[in-house]
Structure formats: structure tokens, C-alpha cells
């Protein structure tokens, strides 16, 4: 997915002279073609994230469209102040491409696990947040990032993830996609958790439970019209994300649903990373299972909610 994304930046740069790339110690040989073909629009700025954001802002204020790339924690937390002011306040066309959103860098520990990136960027006015499900969706997204007004955060998942979206699908920043219809429950998801959500819907179907799946690659601006349309009809709503349960997709959905003030009662559960710094390492898959962010958990949560009329669920692990 990362390769697709960066290659698209190069492809887009071929026909649009406004496109610049600024990297921050991203990997030897990354985008060598871009560097060779458009040296005047290619910069690698070493280990200096705050500086990179300022540089990108300055370029963008002069009419350039700047794509920046580094590890997600360092492009979000490390330079948050610069992102808030230099990019969002000035509303400039800088695209932040964060490698390893979520638990991708599991073996590298808390310094490299981007588990609150969506939460902190959601709090910034004007920031768009997009987490495609797979490389195909990335291909549909990237051309739209060129002329989108204002800053965008593009959250990358791991490389080589299976393609789950249909290449024929459309894409629009700010649009949610109904992947499955079903009246018994609604699973809302973003990024590569779409696969687990679809698999869960399949499993639930075997019990006769029909779950709708709503894929929200754009977490901000949230497509509340599609979301609330489905949520109104669903007795059970479960959100699934590779992110802290605080402030991410689950929070965004909870806020929208709560304020919709539906007459019917909703049973609701966020599936995500609990409010802890992960204290185990290893593989991404190992940590996702450890935290119960997987198909099995989605299935069991929906089954339980289907049985229990109200009250809290005790499924959190840490």
C-alpha cells in the first residue's frame, strides 16, 4: 500500500508541476525515480519532522501541493503543533502520508505504534483523515488528493494486505461505502479492518444474523448522512478500528449516533485498542489478537449484544 501510494505521487507529479515531495529519512532508495526525474521538486530532509512540516507549509503557501512522508507517529505526534498551526490554521495543501498506522510497527514498540493518530488529527479543524482499506482503494484516492482543498492525513496500513474492495468502486474523500446490507446489526470500520468486518458479517450470517458493513475510509469529514441512515435502522452498532477506542472512528460514530437522538434504543460497542500503551510486542497480527481486534471478537460481541438488551460488555483486554 505504501509503495502504491508513493508511486502514485510520482505518477501524479509527471503531469502536475505543482506536486512536490518532502521525505524525512524514509528509507534508502525510496522514490529514486521521482528524485531523478524531478530533482527540483524532491527533498529528503533528514530526521527533522517539525522542520519538514514548516518547509512543506511554506512551499504550499506559494502554491505547491506538497506530499510528505515518514513513520506515522513522527508525522502526527512529533510535529503536532506545526501541523495544527502551519498546516491547518493556514489551510494549506499539504498531504501527510503516515507509514504504519495502527500496530504495523508492533515489534518496534510504543515509539512507533500510531494508535492515537486519528484521534489527535480529528481534533484539528480542516484536517481530512483518510485510511484506505487496500492498495486498490489507495489508487482511487490518490488522484483526488491533488486538488482537495486543505491538509490531508493519509494513514497507511501494512504492505501486501489483501485487496478487499472492488476495483470498480468509486471514491470520494468524505464518502462512506455500504459494503453489506443487513437489518440486525451495523459494523462500521475504517482502513484495513474492513476485511475482518466482512468476514465477521459472513460468520454471523451462518447464525442467521444479518449484519450491514459500512466502510468509512474517510474518518474526517465523517459521512454522517450514510452513517445515520444505516444506524437508524440498526439495533446494534459496533465499530472496529486499529486505533485507540478513544477519539477515533468509534468515538466519531458514537458522537454522531448519540446526537442523532433516535427514538429506538441502540446497543453499541467500540472495538479497538484500550486506553493503554501496548506492553507486548511482536507481530501486528499477534497484537491485534491480543487486543481482540479481529473477526472472532466482532462476531462474539455482536452475538452478545444480540442476546443482552442493555448494559456494558466486558470484552476489553490489555
Amino acid at each position: 500500500m505504501r509503495r502504491t501510494c508513493l508511486n502514485m505521487v510520482y505518477e501524479l507529479a509527471k503531469t502536475d508541476e505543482r506536486i512536490f515531495f518532502v521525505g524525512s529519512d524514509i528509507g534508502f532508495g525510496t522514490l529514486d525515480e521521482f528524485k531523478a526525474d524531478f530533482p527540483g521538486r524532491f527533498f529528503v530532509e533528514g530526521v527533522s519532522e517539525a522542520n519538514v512540516i514548516g518547509l512543506a507549509a511554506g512551499l504550499a503557501l506559494e502554491g505547491k501541493i506538497v506530499y510528505t512522508n515518514t513513520i506515522a507517529t513522527f508525522i502526527t505526534r512529533r510535529c503536532f503543533e506545526q501541523v495544527a498551526l502551519d498546516l491547518c490554521l493556514h489551510n494549506v495543501n499539504v498531504r501527510l502520508i503516515g507509514n504504519g498506522g495502527g500496530l504495523v510497527y508492533a515489534p518496534l514498540g510504543p515509539t512507533h505504534q500510531a494508535i492515537e493518530d486519528i484521534a489527535i488529527f480529528r481534533a484539528l479543524p480542516r484536517m481530512a483523515i483518510v485510511a484506505p482499506a487496500d492498495a486498490e482503494e489507495m489508487k482511487r484516492l490518490m488522484p483526488l488528493t491533488v486538488d482537495y482543498p486543505g491538509p490531508i492525513y493519509i494513514r497507511l496500513a501494512k504492505g501486501g494486505d489483501p485487496v478487499v474492495t472492488d476495483p470498480g468502486m468509486s471514491f470520494r474523500i468524505g464518502k462512506a461505502f455500504v459494503m453489506r446490507r443487513g437489518k440486525d446489526a451495523l459494523i462500521v470500520t475504517t482502513g484495513m479492518m474492513l476485511k475482518a468486518a466482512l468476514d465477521a458479517a459472513d460468520k454471523l450470517a451462518q447464525d442467521g444474523l444479518k449484519a450491514a458493513v459500512l466502510h468509512m475510509p474517510t474518518v474526517k469529514p465523517l459521512d454522517t448522512s450514510v452513517l445515520l441512515d444505516l444506524a437508524e435502522k440498526a439495533p446494534i452498532i459496533v465499530t472496529v478500528e486499529e486505533h485507540s477506542i478513544i477519539g477515533g472512528l468509534g468515538s466519531a460514530v458514537a458522537e454522531a449516533v448519540a446526537e442523532a437522538n433516535f427514538d429506538s434504543v441502540k446497543r453499541f460497542k467500540r472495538i479497538g485498542i484500550p486506553d493503554v500503551f501496548p506492553n507486548k510486542y511482536g507481530s501486528q497480527a499477534g497484537l491485534l489478537t491480543h487486543f481482540g481486534i479481529d473477526t472472532e471478537t466482532i462476531v462474539s460481541v455482536i452475538r452478545q449484544l444480540n442476546k443482552r438488551p442493555s448494559g456494558q460488555l466486558a470484552t476489553e483486554r490489555n
Partner: protein, 286 residues
């Protein structure tokens, strides 16, 4: 109790070189078994780390939280394998744990985690932050009337971070002469040569201009390292920066000065070849 070496002269040099060799072997085996990790920057820092642990540091592996211990902070946290090897060899952690590097449930992850590993003073891995924390610890030592020293190793690529220079100003302002920083100057970072990406040169002049006492050495010459540490420990009134010219991947011919070995572990064949170069004929027996 404190661990101190009584050796001097050539005997000391030889002793420290042996420790460094052990660490190098451990780094290779650890990353080889893990299948990922950062051997290059671990090997470039090895001689410095060996001299710090077995010559300079006043510490007691049986009391990792001993108040009067000298503190060592690996600011360039991705070189965790060099730290883990030193902690195992000094006795903070069990040697067997080394071979679980980066596995699910292991205490040893890609970057040092103080919550998990005795002897790790602070969790690092986000570059540029170790020096500022070292300043805080050094200042606390002065205020608490404890005479410990604070040692920290930073990278040359890491020196591109603004926070390093904010801390540089702070340390000189407070005349933190209990702070000794060492730059692992290997002229490589992820994207290539530091001098090509964003030159930090003339780095010794920069530190001097910021009010530090600067000592330039060959970071693989044990006598020079020891002499620099002696000078640094005696100096009064200023923080000290030891600019150690190093070779990334030092000790393994095919890794030396190669950008490719920043964050890539040796495969089994390469691990065996590397260990052979380091004098281990049968890697299973190491």
C-alpha cells in the same frame, strides 16, 4: 556496591576490546535470530558502549535503581541490541532473553523499554529526545547533591532534530558538567550519508559554539575512548561532547559503511558469516 575495573594500560584496553567483541557477537546473533533489527548503528556504537559500561560507569546490576549510580541513556534507541548485549553481559538481564528479541511477549523490543528491562533508564526510539531527558536527570543530580554522571549516546542523523540543539543550549546554560554526551558519528542515516542528506558539519564547532567542551576521537580506538572519558569526567563547568568518528556496521566486513545495513538483520547465512569474522566458528555454541 559498585562495579569498577581496576585494570590499567594495555590490560584495560584488551579487556574492553574483549567486551566489545562479545557485544558484537551478541548483536549479530540477536538480530539474526529475530530476523529484523538495526545492526549497523549498534555495531558503530559498540566500542563506546563497552567503554562506558566496563570503564566509566559506576553502577550495580543487582541494584538497577541505586540512587548514586551513573546513568546511561541510549538516545539513538534503535541501537537497542548494543544496549541489550551490554545489559546481559553486565548481569542486568539473563543472556537467554537476548534470543527472544522482538518476539511477542519478550521484554526486548525494537527500542529499549524502561517498563520492561532493568537497567534501561528511559524508553527511547523517538530520536532527538534522549539528550533533553539526560539534561533533566543531570540537573536533578546536582539539586539532590548526588555526584552521579549522566552519559548519553546520540546519532549524527539524530543531531538533525531541533530538540538536540535546544537541549545543547540548556546544558551549557546550566553548566551541566555531570553530563557527558557522545555522538556516534558514522556519517550514515536511513536515506544515505548524513553529509548528503543534511550535513551536520562542522559539528564540533557547533557544539563548541553552543558552549560545550568538545573532544574529537576515533570511536573504535579504545585508548582514545578511555582517554576522552577520563578528560570528560574531570572537566568542570561545562557539559562535554565526545565526537566519536565511527564506522556503521564496524567489525563485519560486509556491513561496514553500508547504508543498507541500517535496519536490516542478517539472514542465517549472513549471520554465520558475520560470526565467523568475529571469531565464532560454530554459531550454535555462542
Amino acid at each position: 556496591m559498585k562495579v569498577e575495573t581496576k585494570l590499567e594500560g594495555p590490560e584495560l584496553t584488551e579487556f574492553l576490546q574483549e567486551k566489545a567483541l562479545t557485544i558484537r557477537r551478541d548483536i549479530i546473533k540477536m538480530t539474526g535470530i529475530a530476523g529484523s533489527g538495526h545492526p549497523g548503528g549498534s555495531l558503530s556504537a559498540t566500542d563506546i558502549v563497552a567503554a562506558i559500561y566496563w570503564y566509566a560507569l559506576r553502577h550495580d546490576p543487582n541494584q538497577p535503581k541505586w540512587k548514586e549510580r551513573d546513568r546511561f541513556i541510549l538516545s539513538k534507541g534503535h541501537a537497542a541490541p548494543v544496549l541489550y548485549a551490554a545489559l546481559a553481559e553486565t548481569g542486568y538481564i539473563n543472556r537467554d532473553v537476548l534470543w527472544t528479541l522482538r518476539q511477542f511477549g519478550s521484554a526486548l523490543q525494537g527500542h529499549p523499554d524502561m517498563r520492561k528491562v532493568a537497567g534501561v533508564e528511559i524508553s527511547t526510539g523517538s530520536l532527538g529526545q534522549g539528550l533533553a531527558i539526560a539534561c533533566g536527570i543531570a540537573l536533578a543530580g546536582r539539586l539532590d547533591k548526588l555526584d552521579y554522571k549522566v552519559y548519553t549516546v546520540i546519532g549524527d542523523g539524530e543531531s538533525q532534530e531541533g530538540e538536540i540543539w535546544e537541549a545543547a543550549m540548556l546544558a551549557a546554560h546550566y553548566k551541566l558538567d555531570n553530563l557527558i554526551a557522545i555522538t556516534d558519528y558514522n556519517d550514515l542515516q536511513i536515506d544515505g550519508r548524513v553529509s548528503d542528506i543534511k550535513d551536520v558539519c562542522p559539528v564540533d564547532d557547533k557544539w563548541r559554539a553552543f558552549g560545550w567542551h568538545v573532544i574529537c576521537i576515533d570511536g573504535h580506538d579504545m585508548d582514545q575512548i578511555v582517554a576522552a572519558l577520563d578528560e570528560a569526567r574531570q572537566l568542570k563547568g561545562k557539559p562535554v561532547m565526545i565526537e566519536a568518528k565511527t564506522i556503521k556496521g564496524k567489525g563485519v566486513s560486509f556491513m561496514e559503511d553500508m547504508v543498507e545495513w541500517h535496519g536490516v538483520a542478517p539472514n542465517q547465512e549472513q549471520m554465520i558469516a558475520a560470526l565467523k569474522e568475529l571469531g565464532v566458528d560454530d554459531w550454535t555454541s555462542w
